[in-house]
Amino acid sequence: MSARGTVTAALALTVASLLLVMLGLCVGSAGWEPLTFAHESASAIVWEIRLPRTLGAWLAGALLALAGAVAQGLFRNPLADPYLLGSATGASLGVAVFLVGLGLWPGLAVGWALRWGMTGAAFVGAMGAVLITVALARGVQHTLRLLLAGVIVGMVLGALAALVMFHVPEVMRALQSFMLGTTAFIGWEAVHLMALGLALTGLVAWGLGRNLDALSLGESTAASLGVALGPVRMALVVTLALATGIAVAQVGLIAFIGLVAPHLVRSFARPTHRGLLPLSAATGGVLLLSADVIARWALAPQELPVGALTAVLGGGYLLWLMHRRSW
């Protein structure tokens, strides 16, 4: 039963992904607008804008959902999400500091820094926050301590980011748009980076899948089953931080995908972690890509902020699921 559910889910997700990619190529700034390749700018629009954006939205969703599934397994907590260890507010602070720097030295926005400035700042901020969390928790031995340290770091860095915004209100607008999250500016470089990141973190997480299964039985049981708790936890934390950091750097703080995707998977199949991780990733990809297509389509030629959309849709769906299953 469970195995069949898993296979069906995998097939359905693959078909949905392919259909959504096709849809993503046909929906543009003017709504439904499948372009023939009659002239040069049309093909540039499809290959240089719509395709990378479509693939990038899927990849970012997959990374966040993978991170969410890892976090929920690691902390044995269904409310865990990718931003648990402070990476979201860390990324905000990184971007805020970068934007202030940009205001002081406009030369920063040239060449290398222009291309990687904001994404680099977000990535460094996210990773830095996780490092501080791990340091404050004095390693990863105690999951609860890690969780608490994550909450503290999230609070403090968030307050610092707000403080920067307070003192230099000029960065407020740009920072708020980063916090909402957007898939509008994904180019091929970002797609390559996220694909590489997903392959790497996905493989590591999948390799640790059995350990996650053992961890779900409780830490002492896992230890008695021969799981090297310390190294496994560290590897999982690094995977979680990397997957989140890579996605956040490219698309900003997209809400809810990481939390909701694993729950969705569990609602139609009950796989072990080796099944849950890839299925969650695919679900996250489908979710964010659908949100991206809707964001482009609903108010065309205007665009909805995709982060707000995922929060509304994801929250609504989770609520419905909750009532149906009466948890």
Binding site: P106, A109, L114
Partner: protein
């Protein structure tokens, strides 16, 4: 025979002059990020992503070369008919590329800059924030567009500013003004563009420049400074007398609160060719000719 040789040479000279003239349109500019941009011909399809740049392009007489503007550009009337392609944070990359512009004008902090450049578009990033910036931007745009209206435009603005600067009577000069940009409250200090205009017309800003251009103030600061005139946007202001301590403020007691309409606020906050109009609005406010509206 000799005449034909002569005419042949003359033709060649004319041709040389023509091609020479063509080559002289190739300009290399350094924008506000320090990036260099070479334009081989005056751009004919321009997208502007900043209202003050839109207004400056039009003031230079190149309005008809604009093919799209940002969502906030609304002056002159002609640009309202153009497609709006987002703004600094939500520029619609696809719509912009589909218009095949040969020049995109944007603020340096525009999020889409890197994306637009990686798609092969020519981007000139300019950030007019002060009076001096406006002068520089006019010069750069004049060169970029191949127009020649820059000096005349600057002269006109200067003359109008000079006229506005002498409009206040000596009794009105030095009136202490508080200019609120947003209700947090964020104020325009002496170093902001608005502060520069206030100084130019002879008003005294209660918010010193040392606090940065748009500082967020402690509401107590304003009560202590006790401005004679409050300038505020109709868009953001609520009931001012309900703010703690504000009912005793001199400006409120004497009814000297100017609530600028959205259109007037646009003029006041954009460092563009209409800055003299902004200065005149400030003068009108201090002279009590701007309605206080609801208070």
């Amino acid at each position: 025979m000799a005449e034909r040789v002569w005419r042949g040479w003359a033709m060649r000279l004319v041709l040389l002059a023509l091609t020479g003239a063509g080559a002289s349109h190739a300009v290399t500019l350094t924008d506000d990020r320090g990036a260099r941009l070479t334009l081989t011909a005056p751009p004919q399809r321009i997208v502007s992503l900043l209202p003050s740049l839109t207004e400056t392009v039009c003031a230079l007489g190149a309005c008809e070369r604009l093919v799209a503007v940002d969502t906030h550009s609304n002056w002159p009337q002609a640009v309202r008919a153009l497609p709006a392609v987002g703004g600094m944070d939500d520029a619609q990359v696809e719509s912009i590329l589909a218009l095949r512009p040969d020049l995109v004008l944007a603020a340096t902090s525009t999020r889409a800059l890197a994306r637009l450049e990686s798609l092969g578009l020519k981007v000139l990033a300019l950030e007019p924030r002060t009076l001096e910036d406006f002068r520089r931007v006019v010069g750069q745009l004049d060169r970029a567009l191949g127009t020649s209206g820059g000096p005349a435009l600057l002269q006109g603005v200067d003359a109008e500013l000079a006229a506005a600067a002498t409009a206040l009577t000596s009794a009105q000069r030095g009136t202490r003004v508080y200019f609120e940009v947003s209700s947090a409250p964020y104020a325009a200090s002496e170093t902001s563009f608005i502060g520069q205009l206030l100084a130019r017309v002879g008003a005294a800003n209660v918010v010193p420049g040392a606090l940065g251009p748009f500082p967020k103030l402690n509401p107590e600061f304003i009560v202590r400074a006790d401005p004679q005139v409050v300038m505020i946007s109709d868009r953001t202001s609520g009931d001012l007398s309900a703010r703690p301590g504000w009912s005793g403020l001199r400006a409120l007691r004497e009814g000297r609160v100017c609530r600028f309409t959205p259109a007037q606020s646009d003029v006041l906050v954009r460092p563009g060719p209409r800055m003299a109009e902004g200065a005149r609005l400030m003068v009108a406010c201090i002279q009590g000719r701007i309605p206080a509206g609801r208070s």
